[in-house]
């Protein structure tokens, strides 16, 4: 069971049970869609940007505990950040989970997801929304 306890870090379980800003938004400024064609998980990120700063992120969709927690941590972490900061943070998150950089320089909430490195079949669950948002922000 220890493997599973690593995969489902308390941070992940807490975010899954009570995801941050998990609700449909009627008229968002931007909607960033992510869809995992392998399993059917799908999320919409509702992003508002003002003066080069992400003023709010909400999200809604369906997926496993890891994808839900990943989206929740994303919303909580990136809200209020400048676009450049958000790009950097999402790159940091993705690099951390691909094992390119060590955990020591990443926030604790990011480190909670590093167990997917040894569960490659769950890698997409943890990275999909982050990768889509990173792509979106790079185009801004």
């Amino acid at each position: 069971m220890s493997n599973l306890n690593k995969l489902y870090d308390p941070v992940i379980k807490a975010h899954q049970a009570n995801p941050y800003h998990f609700k449909k938004i009627a008229n968002p400024q931007f909607t960033v869609k992510s869809y995992n064609s392998l399993c059917g998980d799908h999320y919409d990120l509702y992003v508002d940007i003002q003066d080069g700063r992400i003023s709010s992120i909400h999200f809604y969709g369906q997926g496993c505990a890891i994808s839900m927690a990943a989206a929740s941590v994303l919303a909580q972490t990136l809200e209020g950040k400048k676009i450049e900061e958000a790009v950097q943070l999402s790159k940091l998150y993705l690099d951390l989970l691909t094992g390119i950089i060590p955990g020591s320089i990443a926030p604790d909430e990011f480190n909670a997801f590093t167990a997917v490195i040894s569960f490659p079949e769950r890698f997409e669950c943890a990275t999909l929304v982050w990768a889509e948002l990173n792509k979106f922000l790079q185009g801004k």
Partner: protein, 404 residues
């Protein structure tokens, strides 16, 4: 019931290498008995040679063995002519051949192709794509909330513009066993060809094409204890000269000049290039393995394991079984009200229980039922009642893990 599972399990070396493995993913691919693995090794060790062109003894023997399997496959499904059997890469390719090489050229704008709402993507996308190309319509026989086809609607769905019906024998998601006889009888009354996808049924259910009378029957070797990458297309004789090559190349020709080519006839026109000879010989070994079982017994056995799981899941708080069809094989999709199927499958995987989680390549079906994915347990002859108990126990542990 008395079924010699212990003895059967000993034929599958995977369980010697993974003694604690509870394999409940046979609907995705079955495990392979030693005799099939030996047939592959034996061919490559002792018999490897090209077929249909070598004039030396080894090549003649390989050709004989390959063609012998064609006869064995035909006999296995009750077809009187071996040349009704074409070897393909699998169910998906077999269906694509019928869509691309048989139906596409006949399809006119305004025509329609009819399939059911429970087809997996392999029996949906090939039809959908040729319909889009030809401005034809893809019509769907709906299912009810139990997961049975609404056959009373078939009369309003089929019409003079219908060109083919594609129907799955056993649903890979719901486990529903469809009443093929009824559908084929109805279609033939309107002189419509019917393609039956037997991918999920061929390993556990007796199929006799002479009695059942489908125009086309397709299945994969790897879901019936045989090797991957090999499959079968059965076609009735009246369609042979309407099935054109899908792939062009050597081995499927009578005469070639730089300007034109005279192709061989069905089924040889579909087998261009060097085919998967070892795979076909492995399929032959798989059929010999199945022939030692009684398919009337195996079908009852997997159904029994399925209903046992359904019954137990119904007593587990929070779990739901998808559908309740009138006749169901040992393929059970289930979900939990709050725990996502992926989290179920990861947990079970950690407990050495292999189940599938996802949309099972039946997205439209799951969308209709209002969910995006399920966990699925599918049974085969090497599973036992103890496997069901262990699954249920693991699901109870899963609930403890998630419900603080």
């Amino acid at each position: 019931m008395s079924f010699p599972v212990v003895d059967i399990k000993s034929h599958f070396p995977i369980f010697q290498h993974h003694p604690d493995l509870i394999y409940l993913d046979s609907a995705a691919t079955s495990q392979k008995p030693q005799s099939v693995i030996d047939a592959l090794t034996n061919f490559y060790e002792k018999e490897n040679a090209p077929i249909h062109r070598g004039l030396y003894p080894l090549a003649a023997q390989a050709t004989n063995r390959y063609e012998q399997v064609r006869k064995e496959v035909a006999a296995f499904i009750g077809a009187s002519q071996p040349q009704s059997i074409a070897f393909t890469k699998g169910t998906t390719e077999s269906i694509n051949i019928v869509a691309q090489s048989f139906l596409k050229n006949k399809l006119q704008p305004g025509d329609n192709v009819v399939i059911t709402h429970m087809e997996h993507h392999a029996n949906l996308i090939p039809w959908q794509q040729i319909c889009l190309l030809k401005n034809a319509e893809l019509r769907i026989i709906p299912i009810n909330e139990k997961g049975d086809l609404e056959l009373e609607q078939i009369g309003t769905i089929l019409d003079r513009k219908t060109k083919l019906i594609g129907v799955v024998h056993v649903s890979n998601t719901l486990g529903t066993i469809n009443p093929l006889e009824k559908i084929i009888e109805f279609a033939h009354a309107l002189q419509l060809p019917v393609l039956v996808d037997a991918a999920q049924s061929i390993s556990h259910y007796p199929i006799d094409v002479t009695k059942l009378n489908p125009d086309f029957l397709v299945f994969s070797s790897h879901k019936m204890f045989g090797p991957m990458g090999t499959g079968v297309l059965y076609a009735q004789e009246k369609h042979w000269n309407e099935i054109h090559p899908l792939n062009y190349g050597g081995g499927a020709i009578k005469n070639v000049t730089l300007a034109e080519t005279l192709h061989k006839e069905y089924p040889y026109n579909l087998e261009a290039g060097t085919p998967n000879v070892a795979g076909v010989i492995g399929l032959g070994a798989a059929i010999n393995f199945i022939k030692k079982l009684d398919l009337n017994e195996t079908s009852v056995y997997v159904e029994m394991l399925g209903s046992m799981l359904v019954e137990k899941l119904q007593n587990e708080n929070g779990f739901h079984v998808l559908g309740s069809p009138d006749k169901r094989t040992g393929i059970i999709s289930f979900y939990h009200k709050t725990i996502h199927p992926h989290d179920i499958a990861s947990f079970l995987g950690n407990a050495n229980i292999a189940v599938r989680a996802g949309h099972h390549c039946t997205q439209p079906l799951l969308n209709t039922m209002g969910i995006s994915s399920t966990a699925r347990a599918s049974f085969s002859i090497y599973n036992t009642k103890e496997d069901v108990d262990k699954l249920i126990n693991a699901l109870r542990e899963l609930k403890k893990f998630w419900v603080q």
